[in-house]
């Protein structure tokens, strides 16, 4: 990994460090199409991922998790923040300087059919980026590489001259993964990459992603709403609600002892698969408020079962917990237990 910093001090430096990321989208109206409001899709988000690890970014629709992924690649332009990747701030780069970085930061999306050009053959889809970045000296060398990549994602290299529609959903996702790997990335952002797949196919893709990580030392940012997948593959988890990270920590601890009431409600709502223990709990009543007008104070207070007076007035900071962080006054290690609602 030539671009990675060397030396003892650099060992502590994560592969990706995001600080205060803010991506707001304007809501335009009127003849002049002036912004009348802002959707705070990503609102002061910070996290980091160490090389070779998997961070899962979880939350429900509209929480901003996908906008985070897109902001990192600058597929949407953030208004503020820093994105340190391999020691370079991506948000400060000119478009021309961003291009070589994008090679090392690839993305796999939810719907493989929408992200594969239906008129291109699989060989050309996978080789397109190689050509753009000058990988391989000739067409035949690139074809050989494509064949190796297809074999690596367990597709038949003999099928490289076929079109995407000739493949099943799971095979198409393998094509997308092969395309991402073609550029030898260090970080792969998987945005709901297994969400559209049936469970028997999902397990195949999850195993493939896991094998590739072990072999190639890949780092994953796994954006998903599926907590079963998160528990299975993430090292660390960041939970988002209305544009903010409300809890972050090691996967094992977060699932065993969630600190933030939203994380608790989210986990309680997941249907149980244990035939002896059923009944998920609807612990967060009501609907998610609009991200263009998040509630004052703690953004979760309108649905929180443990809400108290302060939550509506003051926005809680991220408090450090035993192994992570939680954006809830109840997680404040310095505070005496407040007049909280009924204990869970």
């Amino acid at each position: 990994m030539s671009a990675a910093p060397t030396g003892a001090a650099a060992l502590a430096e994560p592969l990706l460090r995001v600080e205060g990321l803010r991506t707001w989208f304007p809501v335009r109206a009127g003849v002049l199409q002036r912004p009348v409001a802002w959707i705070r899709a990503v609102d002061d988000v910070s996290f980091s991922i160490e090389a070779g690890r998997t961070l899962a970014l979880v939350g429900e629709s509209g929480c901003g998790k996908s906008s985070v992924g897109r902001s990192l690649l600058r597929l949407v332009e953030p208004q503020a923040g820093r994105v340190w990747f391999e020691g370079v701030d991506l948000l400060g780069l000119a478009p021309a300087a961003l291009r070589p970085v994008r090679r090392r930061l690839q993305m796999v999306f939810q719907d493989p059919m929408a992200s594969l050009d239906p008129r291109m053959r699989v060989r050309d889809i996978v080789a397109e980026g190689m050509q753009a970045f000058g990988i391989g000296s000739s067409e035949s060398e690139r074809s050989e590489r494509v064949a190796r990549l297809l074999a690596r994602v367990q597709l038949d290299p003999g099928q490289m001259w076929r079109y995407p529609h000739e493949f099943s959903g799971g095979q198409r996702q393998r094509i997308c993964i092969a395309r991402a790997l073609a550029l030898e990335p260090r970080l792969v952002i998987c945005d709901e990459a297994t969400s559209a797949l049936d469970v028997s196919i999902q397990s195949q893709i999850l195993n493939l992603l896991r094998d590739l990580q072990q072999e190639l030392g890949l780092t994953y940012l796994f954006i998903t709403h599926d907590l079963g997948v998160v528990r299975y593959l993430a090292d660390r988890v960041a939970v988002m609600y209305l544009g903010q990270i409300v809890e972050e920590g090691p996967a094992e601890a977060l699932f065993r002892a969630p600190q933030h009431p939203y994380t608790q409600a989210l986990l309680a709502a997941v249907p149980s698969l244990d035939p002896a223990r059923r009944h998920s709990v609807a612990a967060a009543p009501g609907d998610v408020p609009s991200p263009s007008a998040p509630p004052p104070g703690c953004r979760f207070h309108t649905r929180c079962p443990r809400v108290f007076a302060r939550c509506a007035q003051e926005a809680p900071p991220l408090y450090g917990t035993a192994s992570g962080a939680s954006r809830c006054f109840l997680s404040d290690p310095g505070a005496a237990t407040p007049d909280a609602g009924p204990a869970r």
Partner: protein, 324 residues
């Protein structure tokens, strides 16, 4: 127990390259009042087409080729169109995955509930509106009287699904067919809707046929489970038996491949290959090319039911095991 739904030998087909291709093949189901039966399977297994055929809603050029469907004693396939229209809604209501596509976007939701009520009962508009408000309250819509005047786009996904449930309940049906009712919803909202379905079933004694791909949802709401693969039901049983002691290799494979059940970081057990599409179904047992327990008879003969206590299964390997 009153039998509310009885399906025998149902065949639904679509035109294919080589004549008509069945997508649902000789399917049997039965469902009693107050019970919830989950019909589970992966995409393309025919579960949604089964649901649609129960109200004779199979879209053209698909059609029901054979079989018998009885809903609350009435032979559905023998009904004339006007009688069929009365049966829909009155004896069986249906809710779908996408509430937005089922609601009329230019009509206030209250008007749509009122319409459903008045289709089945001779009541005045005011009385129907009062009943609509009651239904809204029943399905957990806050400020029901006000929400009657909302347009669908003004409501969240969870609220729209509650409106759909209210419409389905308008004529107090004996059977509710719910096709992936929470798939488009977030997990905290899904938990609310599942809770509502459980309550309604308990309070009304309705039978519920739940179509889903999610075994977690099955565990949350079902009493009995039928697993579909390639157009056929391959295993039926009580929820505890089916999720705790499935016998069909396909059901077992499905359960094992769920990441939530796997130890962290361990390799997930896979079902090799992919679901065959209709028209390309293998001979014999349709699961045999992907089955870890395959042996000769599986390739030639479609397995018949093998009965076990509390469950039945279409599998040669299980039949052989029991015989020996």
């Amino acid at each position: 127990m009153t039998r509310v739904l009885e399906v025998e030998g149902l065949v639904v087909s679509f035109p294919g390259e080589h004549g008509r291709t069945p997508v649902v093949d000789r399917l049997d189901l039965e469902l009693d009042a107050g019970d919830t039966l989950a019909l589970v399977g992966e995409s393309g297994c025919g579960k949604s087409m089964t649901a649609l055929s129960l109200l004779r809603l199979v879209p053209r050029p698909g059609r029901i080729d054979a079989g018998r469907i009885r809903i609350d004693g009435e032979d559905l396939l023998a009904l004339r169109v006007d009688a069929l229209r009365r049966l829909r809604g009155h004896k069986a209501g249906m809710i779908f995955q996408e509430p937005m596509t089922s609601l009329n976007p230019v009509l206030r939701v209250g008007a749509q509930v009122v319409e459903a009520i008045r289709l089945h009962e001779r009541v005045g508009v005011l009385e129907a509106r009062r009943r609509a408000a009651e239904l809204f309250e029943r399905v957990g819509i806050p400020d029901p009287a006000e929400r009657l005047d909302a347009y669908p786009h003004e409501l969240s996904g969870g609220m729209k699904q509650r409106v759909m449930i209210a419409i389905a309940l308008a004529a107090r049906p004996r059977l509710l067919i719910a096709d992936e009712p929470t798939t488009a919803l977030d997990v905290t909202i899904q938990a609310q809707v599942l809770e509502l379905l459980r309550e309604l079933r308990r309070d009304t004694g309705m039978a519920v046929l739940l179509i889903t791909h999610d075994l977690g949802i099955v565990n949350e709401v079902a009493d009995r489970v039928a697993v579909m693969y390639a157009g056929r039901v391959v295993e039926v049983g009580a929820r505890e038996t089916l999720l705790g002691a499935a016998r069909h290799p396909y059901t077992q494979g499905l359960l094992r491949s769920i990441p939530a059940l796997a130890p962290r970081g361990a390799r997930l057990p896979e079902i090799p290959g992919s679901v065959p599409s209709a028209g390309a179904w293998p001979s014999g047992c349709r699961f045999h090319p992907r089955c870890p327990r395959v042996f000769d008879p599986c390739k030639q003969h479609d397995p018949d039911w093998t009965a076990l206590p509390g469950q039945r299964v279409r599998c040669h390997a299980v039949a052989r095991e029991l015989a020996s």
